[in-house]
Symmetry: C2
């Protein structure tokens, strides 16, 4: 579980919730968590504001295809992150795509496009859920 400094109270709570979760959490799942409740976080906007700050600090990633959020399990990194997202259990594995950075940049350059943000998400079945499907 990653460390984080310079966080406000609300941000720390939300980050802790995500750090303890074993899969991406939606804003409303975070809102409904014990930890959030105990600490007085009770409005959706409170959660969304903390999430926005955490994403800005690159401590948390938004998973677009789930409308959910996951704590970054590396040190903050400049390379694009990629996610393997199980469509059955939703457990999500983060990795980086250094090998693709150049290809992406070249593609963008061709279109005179300036890339600010890269989203890579692969959906499918994780090893456990494949095994379970066979049994």
């Amino acid at each position: 579980m990653a460390k984080a400094t310079g966080l406000t109270h609300n941000q720390q709570i939300v980050f802790d919730v995500l750090s303890h979760a074993d899969r991406p959490q939606t804003a409303y799942e975070i809102l409904g968590s014990e930890l959030a409740h105990e600490n007085g976080l009770k409005a959706p906007l409170t959660i969304y504001r903390a999430l926005e700050a955490l994403v800005d600090k690159a401590l948390v990633h938004r998973i677009e295809s789930l409308n959910a959020f996951i704590a970054c399990d590396h040190e903050p990194h400049p390379e694009p992150a990629a996610f393997l997202i199980c469509r059955n259990c939703r457990k999500t594995h983060e990795t980086t795509m250094e090998a693709c950075s150049g290809i992406f940049q070249a593609t963008a350059r061709q279109q005179l496009f300036t890339v600010e943000q890269v989203t890579i998400e692969m959906s499918g079945l994780c090893a456990e859920c494949q095994a379970q499907a066979r049994s």
Copy 2:
């Protein structure tokens, strides 16, 4: 504008709306379009059902980071598509990422993960919007 056969009436209307649009459209934008209105498509679910069928047929792509949909501007293809999405004007350029397919597969294989769907979206500024920002 791509051709499409074997579509139901509703699917054809929705596909036509997307084909004529110069940027991705949300379900509710499609719902609000002249063409949809004229043809009696008046409930969100009608639109979503047509979109689901079109995405299944690979005639339309969902842009996760916009919650919007775009007509595929190639023939249907097996390679992962990638999108360059302007955060200012929302115009979106589709391309393929054949060069990355192997990297993605290798990454997944390492985790014993079976990939079914790949999402690649790059957000930033298109050439026009960069020029406009400078002037």
